[in-house]
Symmetry: C2
Subunit: 274 residues, 2 copies
Amino acid sequence: MADLQIPSQMTQSTKPLRRVAFIGAGNLATRLALAMQERGFEVMQVWSRTAQSAEVLASLLGCGATTTLADLTPEADLYVFAVSDKALPALLEAMPHRCGLWVHTAGSVGLSVFEACGMARCGVFYPLQTFSKARKPDFARIPIFIEARSAGDLELLREAGLRLSGSVSEATSEQRRQLHLAAVFACNFTNHMYAVAAQLVERSGLPFDALRPLIAETAAKINELTPREAQTGPAIRFDTAVIERHERLLADEPRLQELYHLLSLSIHDFANNQ
Amino acid sequence: MADLQIPSQMTQSTKPLRRVAFIGAGNLATRLALAMQERGFEVMQVWSRTAQSAEVLASLLGCGATTTLADLTPEADLYVFAVSDKALPALLEAMPHRCGLWVHTAGSVGLSVFEACGMARCGVFYPLQTFSKARKPDFARIPIFIEARSAGDLELLREAGLRLSGSVSEATSEQRRQLHLAAVFACNFTNHMYAVAAQLVERSGLPFDALRPLIAETAAKINELTPREAQTGPAIRFDTAVIERHERLLADEPRLQELYHLLSLSIHDFANNQ
Protein backbone atom coordinates (compact mmCIF):
# COMPACT_ATOMS: atom_id res chain seq x y z
CA MET A 1 0.00 0.00 0.00
CA ALA A 2 1.30 3.43 -0.92
CA ASP A 3 -0.73 5.17 1.82
CA LEU A 4 2.19 5.39 4.21
CA GLN A 5 4.14 7.59 1.82
CA ILE A 6 1.33 10.08 1.40
CA PRO A 7 0.62 12.81 3.97
CA SER A 8 -2.47 11.84 5.91
CA GLN A 9 -4.26 15.12 5.22
CA MET A 10 -4.34 14.10 1.57
CA THR A 11 -5.76 10.64 2.14
CA GLN A 12 -8.37 11.45 4.74
CA SER A 13 -11.43 13.58 4.37
CA THR A 14 -14.78 13.52 6.07
CA LYS A 15 -16.15 16.32 3.93
CA PRO A 16 -19.28 15.04 2.20
CA LEU A 17 -19.03 14.74 -1.56
CA ARG A 18 -21.30 17.48 -2.86
CA ARG A 19 -19.51 19.35 -5.64
CA VAL A 20 -18.86 17.12 -8.61
CA ALA A 21 -16.94 17.41 -11.88
CA PHE A 22 -17.67 14.98 -14.68
CA ILE A 23 -14.96 13.75 -16.99
CA GLY A 24 -16.94 12.26 -19.84
CA ALA A 25 -20.31 13.08 -21.38
CA GLY A 26 -21.54 9.74 -22.72
CA ASN A 27 -24.61 7.73 -21.76
CA LEU A 28 -23.52 6.89 -18.23
CA ALA A 29 -22.08 10.36 -17.53
CA THR A 30 -25.27 11.97 -18.78
CA ARG A 31 -27.68 9.88 -16.73
CA LEU A 32 -25.51 9.87 -13.59
CA ALA A 33 -24.84 13.61 -13.69
CA LEU A 34 -28.52 14.41 -14.14
CA ALA A 35 -29.50 12.02 -11.36
CA MET A 36 -26.89 13.51 -9.01
CA GLN A 37 -28.05 17.03 -9.73
CA GLU A 38 -31.63 15.97 -9.07
CA ARG A 39 -30.59 14.56 -5.70
CA GLY A 40 -28.88 17.75 -4.52
CA PHE A 41 -25.31 17.39 -5.74
CA GLU A 42 -23.78 20.41 -7.43
CA VAL A 43 -22.41 19.36 -10.80
CA MET A 44 -19.84 22.08 -11.43
CA GLN A 45 -18.38 21.21 -14.80
CA VAL A 46 -18.28 18.72 -17.63
CA TRP A 47 -15.17 17.79 -19.57
CA SER A 48 -15.38 15.88 -22.80
CA ARG A 49 -12.95 15.21 -25.61
CA THR A 50 -15.35 16.88 -28.03
CA ALA A 51 -16.76 20.34 -27.40
CA GLN A 52 -20.19 19.39 -28.64
CA SER A 53 -20.66 16.48 -26.21
CA ALA A 54 -19.40 18.58 -23.30
CA GLU A 55 -21.73 21.43 -24.20
CA VAL A 56 -24.81 19.28 -24.69
CA LEU A 57 -24.50 17.76 -21.22
CA ALA A 58 -23.40 21.03 -19.61
CA SER A 59 -26.42 22.79 -21.03
CA LEU A 60 -28.72 20.10 -19.60
CA LEU A 61 -27.05 20.64 -16.23
CA GLY A 62 -26.65 24.41 -16.53
CA CYS A 63 -22.93 24.20 -15.71
CA GLY A 64 -19.61 24.86 -17.42
CA ALA A 65 -18.11 22.80 -20.23
CA THR A 66 -14.50 22.30 -21.24
CA THR A 67 -12.36 20.17 -23.52
CA THR A 68 -9.12 21.15 -21.75
CA LEU A 69 -8.18 19.09 -18.72
CA ALA A 70 -6.06 21.96 -17.40
CA ASP A 71 -9.24 24.04 -17.15
CA LEU A 72 -10.96 21.54 -14.87
CA THR A 73 -12.21 23.19 -11.70
CA PRO A 74 -9.94 22.57 -8.70
CA GLU A 75 -12.92 22.94 -6.36
CA ALA A 76 -14.82 19.71 -6.79
CA ASP A 77 -15.09 17.19 -3.94
CA LEU A 78 -15.55 14.39 -6.42
CA TYR A 79 -14.12 13.87 -9.92
CA VAL A 80 -16.13 11.25 -11.80
CA PHE A 81 -14.33 9.61 -14.73
CA ALA A 82 -17.14 8.22 -16.84
CA VAL A 83 -15.31 7.39 -20.04
CA SER A 84 -14.69 4.18 -21.97
CA ASP A 85 -12.34 1.66 -20.37
CA LYS A 86 -9.82 2.12 -23.12
CA ALA A 87 -9.77 5.92 -22.80
CA LEU A 88 -9.33 5.93 -19.03
CA PRO A 89 -5.57 5.24 -18.51
CA ALA A 90 -4.39 7.93 -20.95
CA LEU A 91 -6.85 10.40 -19.47
CA LEU A 92 -5.64 9.76 -15.94
CA GLU A 93 -2.08 10.26 -17.11
CA ALA A 94 -2.99 13.61 -18.66
CA MET A 95 -4.96 14.84 -15.63
CA PRO A 96 -3.54 17.83 -13.79
CA HIS A 97 -3.25 17.66 -10.00
CA ARG A 98 -6.65 18.02 -8.36
CA CYS A 99 -7.53 17.41 -4.72
CA GLY A 100 -10.80 15.68 -4.01
CA LEU A 101 -11.76 12.08 -4.57
CA TRP A 102 -11.29 10.57 -8.02
CA VAL A 103 -13.60 7.75 -9.01
CA HIS A 104 -14.19 5.83 -12.19
CA THR A 105 -17.41 4.11 -13.19
CA ALA A 106 -16.07 1.19 -15.20
CA GLY A 107 -17.09 -2.38 -14.44
CA SER A 108 -14.00 -4.01 -15.85
CA VAL A 109 -11.29 -1.63 -14.66
CA GLY A 110 -9.58 -2.27 -11.32
CA LEU A 111 -9.00 0.32 -8.64
CA SER A 112 -5.32 -0.14 -9.50
CA VAL A 113 -5.74 2.02 -12.62
CA PHE A 114 -5.20 5.02 -10.33
CA GLU A 115 -1.80 3.78 -9.17
CA ALA A 116 0.03 5.09 -12.22
CA CYS A 117 -1.07 8.66 -11.48
CA GLY A 118 -0.20 8.32 -7.78
CA MET A 119 -3.64 9.27 -6.51
CA ALA A 120 -4.21 8.33 -2.88
CA ARG A 121 -7.84 9.40 -2.79
CA CYS A 122 -9.40 7.20 -5.42
CA GLY A 123 -12.29 4.81 -5.78
CA VAL A 124 -14.93 3.27 -7.97
CA PHE A 125 -18.59 4.17 -8.26
CA TYR A 126 -20.26 1.57 -10.46
CA PRO A 127 -24.01 1.78 -11.09
CA LEU A 128 -25.07 -1.57 -12.53
CA GLN A 129 -27.49 -0.49 -15.20
CA THR A 130 -27.78 0.15 -18.93
CA PHE A 131 -27.87 3.83 -19.76
CA SER A 132 -29.05 5.60 -22.87
CA LYS A 133 -29.15 9.36 -23.21
CA ALA A 134 -32.72 9.15 -24.47
CA ARG A 135 -34.17 7.31 -21.49
CA LYS A 136 -34.32 8.28 -17.84
CA PRO A 137 -33.74 5.31 -15.55
CA ASP A 138 -35.12 4.97 -12.03
CA PHE A 139 -31.89 5.56 -10.13
CA ALA A 140 -33.47 4.73 -6.79
CA ARG A 141 -33.52 1.05 -7.81
CA ILE A 142 -30.09 0.81 -9.39
CA PRO A 143 -27.54 -1.23 -7.40
CA ILE A 144 -24.37 0.83 -6.96
CA PHE A 145 -21.11 -0.98 -6.23
CA ILE A 146 -18.35 1.00 -4.55
CA GLU A 147 -14.69 0.51 -3.80
CA ALA A 148 -12.10 2.93 -2.40
CA ARG A 149 -8.45 3.02 -1.38
CA SER A 150 -9.33 4.24 2.14
CA ALA A 151 -12.10 3.34 4.56
CA GLY A 152 -12.97 7.03 4.90
CA ASP A 153 -13.51 7.51 1.19
CA LEU A 154 -15.50 4.28 1.05
CA GLU A 155 -17.87 5.77 3.63
CA LEU A 156 -18.11 9.03 1.67
CA LEU A 157 -18.96 7.07 -1.49
CA ARG A 158 -21.52 5.02 0.43
CA GLU A 159 -23.17 8.18 1.67
CA ALA A 160 -23.16 9.68 -1.82
CA GLY A 161 -24.51 6.45 -3.31
CA LEU A 162 -27.34 6.24 -0.77
CA ARG A 163 -28.51 9.69 -1.85
CA LEU A 164 -29.16 8.18 -5.26
CA SER A 165 -30.16 4.60 -4.63
CA GLY A 166 -31.52 2.24 -2.01
CA SER A 167 -28.84 -0.31 -2.89
CA VAL A 168 -25.16 0.53 -2.31
CA SER A 169 -22.71 -2.33 -1.73
CA GLU A 170 -18.98 -2.76 -1.58
CA ALA A 171 -17.45 -4.92 -4.30
CA THR A 172 -13.82 -5.72 -4.95
CA SER A 173 -12.32 -5.05 -8.37
CA GLU A 174 -12.49 -8.79 -9.04
CA GLN A 175 -16.18 -9.04 -8.10
CA ARG A 176 -16.98 -5.98 -10.17
CA ARG A 177 -15.27 -7.56 -13.18
CA GLN A 178 -17.49 -10.62 -12.83
CA LEU A 179 -20.54 -8.42 -12.36
CA HIS A 180 -19.73 -6.53 -15.52
CA LEU A 181 -19.25 -9.76 -17.46
CA ALA A 182 -22.58 -11.03 -16.12
CA ALA A 183 -24.20 -7.72 -17.07
CA VAL A 184 -22.98 -8.07 -20.64
CA PHE A 185 -24.95 -11.32 -20.85
CA ALA A 186 -28.00 -10.06 -18.93
CA CYS A 187 -28.24 -6.80 -20.82
CA ASN A 188 -26.11 -6.30 -23.93
CA PHE A 189 -26.48 -9.82 -25.29
CA THR A 190 -30.13 -9.96 -24.25
CA ASN A 191 -30.78 -6.76 -26.16
CA HIS A 192 -29.06 -8.27 -29.17
CA MET A 193 -31.48 -11.21 -28.94
CA TYR A 194 -34.28 -8.62 -29.20
CA ALA A 195 -32.58 -7.07 -32.23
CA VAL A 196 -32.29 -10.43 -33.99
CA ALA A 197 -35.93 -11.22 -33.17
CA ALA A 198 -37.04 -7.83 -34.48
CA GLN A 199 -35.26 -8.45 -37.77
CA LEU A 200 -36.83 -11.89 -38.12
CA VAL A 201 -40.44 -10.82 -37.50
CA GLU A 202 -40.16 -7.71 -39.61
CA ARG A 203 -38.80 -9.77 -42.49
CA SER A 204 -41.94 -11.91 -42.32
CA GLY A 205 -44.18 -8.84 -42.60
CA LEU A 206 -45.28 -8.77 -38.97
CA PRO A 207 -44.66 -5.94 -36.50
CA PHE A 208 -42.08 -6.14 -33.71
CA ASP A 209 -44.97 -5.26 -31.40
CA ALA A 210 -46.09 -8.89 -31.63
CA LEU A 211 -43.05 -9.82 -29.54
CA ARG A 212 -43.41 -7.21 -26.80
CA PRO A 213 -45.64 -9.24 -24.44
CA LEU A 214 -43.27 -12.19 -24.82
CA ILE A 215 -40.23 -10.06 -24.01
CA ALA A 216 -41.96 -8.48 -21.00
CA GLU A 217 -43.09 -11.88 -19.69
CA THR A 218 -39.65 -13.43 -20.18
CA ALA A 219 -38.13 -10.71 -18.00
CA ALA A 220 -40.98 -10.77 -15.44
CA LYS A 221 -40.89 -14.54 -15.08
CA ILE A 222 -37.49 -14.60 -13.42
CA ASN A 223 -38.87 -12.58 -10.51
CA GLU A 224 -40.77 -15.74 -9.55
CA LEU A 225 -38.68 -18.53 -11.05
CA THR A 226 -34.92 -19.00 -11.37
CA PRO A 227 -33.68 -18.67 -14.96
CA ARG A 228 -33.12 -22.44 -14.99
CA GLU A 229 -36.71 -23.10 -13.96
CA ALA A 230 -37.99 -20.53 -16.44
CA GLN A 231 -36.19 -22.06 -19.44
CA THR A 232 -38.62 -23.17 -22.18
CA GLY A 233 -38.32 -23.79 -25.92
CA PRO A 234 -37.04 -26.40 -28.37
CA ALA A 235 -33.47 -26.54 -27.01
CA ILE A 236 -34.48 -27.48 -23.44
CA ARG A 237 -37.04 -29.98 -24.79
CA PHE A 238 -34.33 -31.35 -27.10
CA ASP A 239 -36.84 -31.00 -29.93
CA THR A 240 -34.32 -31.63 -32.70
CA ALA A 241 -36.97 -31.42 -35.43
CA VAL A 242 -37.70 -27.79 -34.54
CA ILE A 243 -34.04 -26.96 -33.98
CA GLU A 244 -33.11 -28.29 -37.42
CA ARG A 245 -36.02 -26.50 -39.09
CA HIS A 246 -34.98 -23.23 -37.43
CA GLU A 247 -31.39 -23.68 -38.49
CA ARG A 248 -32.55 -24.25 -42.08
CA LEU A 249 -34.62 -21.05 -41.91
CA LEU A 250 -31.38 -19.22 -41.10
CA ALA A 251 -29.45 -20.77 -43.99
CA ASP A 252 -28.87 -17.37 -45.63
CA GLU A 253 -27.44 -15.90 -42.45
CA PRO A 254 -24.52 -18.06 -41.39
CA ARG A 255 -23.71 -15.93 -38.32
CA LEU A 256 -27.25 -16.18 -36.93
CA GLN A 257 -27.37 -19.85 -37.81
CA GLU A 258 -24.14 -20.47 -35.90
CA LEU A 259 -25.49 -18.42 -33.01
CA TYR A 260 -28.71 -20.44 -32.91
CA HIS A 261 -26.71 -23.66 -32.88
CA LEU A 262 -24.31 -22.57 -30.16
CA LEU A 263 -27.03 -21.11 -27.94
CA SER A 264 -29.01 -24.35 -28.19
CA LEU A 265 -25.92 -26.37 -27.22
CA SER A 266 -25.26 -24.05 -24.30
CA ILE A 267 -28.85 -24.41 -23.04
CA HIS A 268 -28.17 -28.14 -23.11
CA ASP A 269 -24.91 -27.84 -21.21
CA PHE A 270 -26.75 -25.95 -18.48
CA ALA A 271 -29.61 -28.45 -18.30
CA ASN A 272 -27.16 -31.35 -17.99
CA ASN A 273 -25.18 -29.67 -15.22
CA GLN A 274 -28.14 -29.00 -12.98
CA MET B 1 -57.55 -28.08 -52.15
CA ALA B 2 -59.29 -31.23 -50.92
CA ASP B 3 -62.41 -29.31 -49.84
CA LEU B 4 -64.36 -30.21 -52.96
CA GLN B 5 -64.21 -33.89 -52.13
CA ILE B 6 -65.58 -33.45 -48.64
CA PRO B 7 -69.31 -33.03 -47.94
CA SER B 8 -69.99 -29.39 -47.14
CA GLN B 9 -71.72 -30.17 -43.83
CA MET B 10 -68.39 -31.43 -42.57
CA THR B 11 -66.41 -28.36 -43.56
CA GLN B 12 -68.84 -25.67 -42.50
CA SER B 13 -70.00 -24.81 -39.03
CA THR B 14 -71.14 -21.61 -37.43
CA LYS B 15 -71.55 -23.17 -34.02
CA PRO B 16 -69.37 -21.23 -31.59
CA LEU B 17 -66.46 -23.14 -30.12
CA ARG B 18 -67.41 -23.65 -26.47
CA ARG B 19 -66.73 -27.24 -25.52
CA VAL B 20 -63.05 -28.06 -25.69
CA ALA B 21 -60.94 -31.21 -25.37
CA PHE B 22 -57.22 -30.89 -24.71
CA ILE B 23 -54.75 -33.31 -26.20
CA GLY B 24 -51.63 -32.62 -24.16
CA ALA B 25 -51.06 -31.49 -20.58
CA GLY B 26 -47.76 -29.61 -20.74
CA ASN B 27 -47.01 -25.97 -19.97
CA LEU B 28 -48.97 -24.50 -22.88
CA ALA B 29 -51.91 -26.92 -22.51
CA THR B 30 -52.09 -26.16 -18.80
CA ARG B 31 -52.07 -22.37 -19.11
CA LEU B 32 -54.35 -22.27 -22.16
CA ALA B 33 -56.90 -24.71 -20.73
CA LEU B 34 -57.08 -22.80 -17.45
CA ALA B 35 -57.41 -19.48 -19.27
CA MET B 36 -60.16 -20.84 -21.53
CA GLN B 37 -62.09 -22.20 -18.57
CA GLU B 38 -61.78 -18.86 -16.83
CA ARG B 39 -63.24 -17.13 -19.90
CA GLY B 40 -66.32 -19.36 -20.10
CA PHE B 41 -65.22 -22.27 -22.28
CA GLU B 42 -66.14 -25.73 -21.05
CA VAL B 43 -63.00 -27.86 -20.94
CA MET B 44 -64.47 -31.36 -21.13
CA GLN B 45 -61.46 -33.65 -21.01
CA VAL B 46 -57.69 -33.86 -20.99
CA TRP B 47 -55.70 -36.53 -22.78
CA SER B 48 -52.03 -37.05 -22.04
CA ARG B 49 -49.58 -39.84 -22.80
CA THR B 50 -48.99 -40.24 -19.07
CA ALA B 51 -51.85 -40.72 -16.63
CA GLN B 52 -50.25 -38.49 -14.03
CA SER B 53 -49.97 -35.44 -16.31
CA ALA B 54 -53.52 -35.89 -17.55
CA GLU B 55 -54.85 -36.20 -14.02
CA VAL B 56 -52.95 -33.22 -12.64
CA LEU B 57 -54.39 -30.89 -15.28
CA ALA B 58 -57.85 -32.51 -15.20
CA SER B 59 -58.01 -32.03 -11.46
CA LEU B 60 -57.13 -28.34 -11.84
CA LEU B 61 -59.96 -28.07 -14.36
CA GLY B 62 -62.38 -30.43 -12.62
CA CYS B 63 -62.84 -32.49 -15.80
CA GLY B 64 -62.12 -35.99 -17.05
CA ALA B 65 -58.70 -37.40 -17.84
CA THR B 66 -57.64 -40.16 -20.20
CA THR B 67 -54.55 -41.71 -21.72
CA THR B 68 -56.55 -43.55 -24.39
CA LEU B 69 -57.31 -41.62 -27.57
CA ALA B 70 -60.28 -43.88 -28.30
CA ASP B 71 -61.86 -42.61 -25.07
CA LEU B 72 -61.75 -38.97 -26.16
CA THR B 73 -65.15 -37.36 -25.95
CA PRO B 74 -66.91 -37.08 -29.33
CA GLU B 75 -68.81 -34.02 -28.11
CA ALA B 76 -66.21 -31.25 -28.15
CA ASP B 77 -66.51 -28.34 -30.59
CA LEU B 78 -62.75 -27.85 -30.48
CA TYR B 79 -59.89 -30.34 -30.10
CA VAL B 80 -56.71 -28.57 -29.08
CA PHE B 81 -53.49 -30.48 -29.82
CA ALA B 82 -50.96 -28.91 -27.47
CA VAL B 83 -48.11 -31.37 -27.69
CA SER B 84 -44.50 -31.13 -28.82
CA ASP B 85 -43.91 -30.67 -32.55
CA LYS B 86 -42.29 -34.05 -32.83
CA ALA B 87 -45.18 -35.86 -31.09
CA LEU B 88 -47.89 -34.25 -33.22
CA PRO B 89 -47.82 -36.24 -36.51
CA ALA B 90 -47.97 -39.68 -34.85
CA LEU B 91 -50.72 -38.48 -32.55
CA LEU B 92 -52.83 -37.20 -35.43
CA GLU B 93 -52.38 -40.51 -37.19
CA ALA B 94 -53.59 -42.40 -34.12
CA MET B 95 -56.60 -40.11 -33.52
CA PRO B 96 -60.04 -41.69 -33.92
CA HIS B 97 -62.61 -39.84 -36.01
CA ARG B 98 -64.01 -36.86 -34.17
CA CYS B 99 -66.18 -34.08 -35.59
CA GLY B 100 -65.46 -30.58 -34.42
CA LEU B 101 -62.53 -28.35 -35.26
CA TRP B 102 -59.01 -29.67 -34.72
CA VAL B 103 -56.30 -27.12 -34.01
CA HIS B 104 -52.68 -27.36 -33.03
CA THR B 105 -50.74 -24.74 -31.09
CA ALA B 106 -47.26 -25.21 -32.57
CA GLY B 107 -45.31 -22.30 -33.97
CA SER B 108 -43.19 -24.33 -36.34
CA VAL B 109 -45.74 -26.82 -37.70
CA GLY B 110 -47.72 -25.97 -40.85
CA LEU B 111 -51.46 -26.33 -41.24
CA SER B 112 -50.57 -29.08 -43.71
CA VAL B 113 -49.82 -31.47 -40.84
CA PHE B 114 -53.56 -32.23 -40.82
CA GLU B 115 -53.57 -33.36 -44.44
CA ALA B 116 -52.31 -36.86 -43.65
CA CYS B 117 -55.32 -37.53 -41.41
CA GLY B 118 -57.74 -36.09 -43.97
CA MET B 119 -59.28 -33.52 -41.62
CA ALA B 120 -61.24 -30.82 -43.40
CA ARG B 121 -61.98 -28.80 -40.28
CA CYS B 122 -58.57 -27.92 -39.03
CA GLY B 123 -56.60 -24.89 -37.98
CA VAL B 124 -53.92 -23.38 -35.80
CA PHE B 125 -54.29 -21.46 -32.56
CA TYR B 126 -50.87 -20.09 -31.62
CA PRO B 127 -50.53 -17.93 -28.50
CA LEU B 128 -47.13 -16.21 -28.74
CA GLN B 129 -45.95 -16.45 -25.17
CA THR B 130 -43.71 -18.46 -22.85
CA PHE B 131 -45.69 -20.69 -20.53
CA SER B 132 -44.67 -22.35 -17.31
CA LYS B 133 -47.04 -24.37 -15.21
CA ALA B 134 -45.97 -22.46 -12.12
CA ARG B 135 -46.79 -18.99 -13.43
CA LYS B 136 -50.09 -17.52 -14.58
CA PRO B 137 -49.66 -15.23 -17.59
CA ASP B 138 -51.95 -12.32 -18.44
CA PHE B 139 -53.75 -13.91 -21.37
CA ALA B 140 -55.56 -10.69 -22.27
CA ARG B 141 -52.26 -9.29 -23.56
CA ILE B 142 -50.99 -12.35 -25.42
CA PRO B 143 -51.03 -12.07 -29.22
CA ILE B 144 -52.82 -15.08 -30.69
CA PHE B 145 -52.12 -16.05 -34.30
CA ILE B 146 -54.74 -18.12 -36.08
CA GLU B 147 -55.00 -20.03 -39.33
CA ALA B 148 -57.71 -22.36 -40.67
CA ARG B 149 -58.55 -24.39 -43.73
CA SER B 150 -61.91 -22.61 -44.17
CA ALA B 151 -62.99 -19.01 -43.77
CA GLY B 152 -65.80 -20.11 -41.46
CA ASP B 153 -63.46 -21.88 -39.06
CA LEU B 154 -61.09 -18.92 -39.18
CA GLU B 155 -63.94 -16.72 -37.94
CA LEU B 156 -64.80 -19.21 -35.20
CA LEU B 157 -61.17 -19.23 -34.07
CA ARG B 158 -61.07 -15.44 -34.16
CA GLU B 159 -64.16 -15.26 -31.96
CA ALA B 160 -62.68 -17.84 -29.56
CA GLY B 161 -59.36 -15.99 -29.52
CA LEU B 162 -60.99 -12.65 -28.78
CA ARG B 163 -62.62 -14.13 -25.68
CA LEU B 164 -59.11 -14.66 -24.35
CA SER B 165 -57.04 -11.81 -25.74
CA GLY B 166 -57.27 -8.34 -27.20
CA SER B 167 -54.89 -9.33 -30.00
CA VAL B 168 -55.93 -12.00 -32.49
CA SER B 169 -54.39 -11.97 -35.98
CA GLU B 170 -54.25 -14.26 -38.94
CA ALA B 171 -50.81 -15.59 -39.83
CA THR B 172 -49.81 -18.03 -42.54
CA SER B 173 -47.85 -21.15 -41.64
CA GLU B 174 -44.76 -19.48 -43.10
CA GLN B 175 -45.23 -16.31 -41.01
CA ARG B 176 -45.85 -18.37 -37.91
CA ARG B 177 -42.62 -20.28 -38.49
CA GLN B 178 -40.69 -17.00 -38.59
CA LEU B 179 -42.54 -15.76 -35.51
CA HIS B 180 -41.59 -18.90 -33.64
CA LEU B 181 -37.95 -18.57 -34.68
CA ALA B 182 -37.99 -14.93 -33.55
CA ALA B 183 -39.60 -15.99 -30.27
CA VAL B 184 -36.79 -18.46 -29.61
CA PHE B 185 -34.36 -15.54 -29.74
CA ALA B 186 -36.59 -13.08 -27.84
CA CYS B 187 -37.50 -15.54 -25.11
CA ASN B 188 -35.64 -18.86 -24.90
CA PHE B 189 -32.20 -17.49 -25.76
CA THR B 190 -32.81 -14.35 -23.71
CA ASN B 191 -33.66 -16.50 -20.71
CA HIS B 192 -30.46 -18.44 -21.27
CA MET B 193 -28.55 -15.14 -21.12
CA TYR B 194 -30.14 -14.64 -17.68
CA ALA B 195 -29.06 -18.16 -16.67
CA VAL B 196 -25.46 -17.51 -17.74
CA ALA B 197 -25.46 -14.18 -15.91
CA ALA B 198 -26.86 -15.80 -12.77
CA GLN B 199 -24.09 -18.39 -12.80
CA LEU B 200 -21.43 -15.71 -13.23
CA VAL B 201 -22.58 -13.43 -10.40
CA GLU B 202 -23.21 -16.27 -8.02
CA ARG B 203 -19.73 -17.60 -8.67
CA SER B 204 -18.33 -14.24 -7.59
CA GLY B 205 -20.25 -14.41 -4.31
CA LEU B 206 -22.90 -11.83 -5.20
CA PRO B 207 -26.64 -12.48 -5.37
CA PHE B 208 -28.53 -12.76 -8.68
CA ASP B 209 -30.79 -10.04 -7.25
CA ALA B 210 -28.08 -7.52 -8.18
CA LEU B 211 -28.96 -8.09 -11.83
CA ARG B 212 -32.75 -7.80 -11.54
CA PRO B 213 -33.02 -4.02 -12.10
CA LEU B 214 -30.72 -4.35 -15.12
CA ILE B 215 -32.81 -7.14 -16.62
CA ALA B 216 -36.04 -5.24 -16.02
CA GLU B 217 -34.63 -2.04 -17.54
CA THR B 218 -33.22 -3.89 -20.57
CA ALA B 219 -36.71 -5.23 -21.32
CA ALA B 220 -38.48 -1.95 -20.54
CA LYS B 221 -36.12 0.10 -22.68
CA ILE B 222 -37.30 -1.37 -25.94
CA ASN B 223 -40.77 0.02 -25.33
CA GLU B 224 -39.24 3.43 -26.03
CA LEU B 225 -36.25 2.65 -28.22
CA THR B 226 -35.74 0.12 -30.99
CA PRO B 227 -33.39 -2.73 -30.00
CA ARG B 228 -30.76 -1.22 -32.30
CA GLU B 229 -31.00 2.15 -30.55
CA ALA B 230 -30.99 0.47 -27.14
CA GLN B 231 -27.79 -1.51 -27.77
CA THR B 232 -25.02 -0.65 -25.29
CA GLY B 233 -21.91 -2.42 -24.02
CA PRO B 234 -18.36 -3.21 -25.08
CA ALA B 235 -19.27 -4.93 -28.37
CA ILE B 236 -21.19 -1.98 -29.82
CA ARG B 237 -18.44 0.41 -28.62
CA PHE B 238 -15.88 -1.94 -30.16
CA ASP B 239 -14.06 -1.79 -26.83
CA THR B 240 -11.65 -4.61 -27.63
CA ALA B 241 -9.79 -4.25 -24.32
CA VAL B 242 -12.94 -5.14 -22.38
CA ILE B 243 -13.97 -7.84 -24.84
CA GLU B 244 -10.58 -9.54 -24.55
CA ARG B 245 -10.60 -9.26 -20.77
CA HIS B 246 -14.07 -10.83 -20.64
CA GLU B 247 -13.04 -13.64 -22.93
CA ARG B 248 -10.06 -14.34 -20.69
CA LEU B 249 -12.37 -14.46 -17.66
CA LEU B 250 -14.26 -17.24 -19.44
CA ALA B 251 -11.12 -19.25 -20.22
CA ASP B 252 -12.31 -22.22 -18.13
CA GLU B 253 -15.63 -22.37 -19.95
CA PRO B 254 -14.93 -22.77 -23.65
CA ARG B 255 -18.62 -22.87 -24.61
CA LEU B 256 -19.41 -19.58 -22.87
CA GLN B 257 -16.23 -18.05 -24.22
CA GLU B 258 -17.21 -19.02 -27.76
CA LEU B 259 -20.70 -17.67 -27.13
CA TYR B 260 -19.31 -14.36 -25.90
CA HIS B 261 -17.12 -14.08 -28.96
CA LEU B 262 -19.87 -14.92 -31.43
CA LEU B 263 -22.45 -12.66 -29.80
CA SER B 264 -20.00 -9.76 -29.90
CA LEU B 265 -19.33 -10.39 -33.60
CA SER B 266 -23.04 -10.55 -34.29
CA ILE B 267 -23.66 -7.24 -32.51
CA HIS B 268 -21.04 -5.83 -34.85
CA ASP B 269 -22.64 -7.29 -37.95
CA PHE B 270 -25.90 -5.62 -36.97
CA ALA B 271 -24.27 -2.25 -36.28
CA ASN B 272 -22.51 -2.33 -39.64
CA ASN B 273 -25.69 -3.18 -41.53
CA GLN B 274 -27.73 -0.33 -40.12
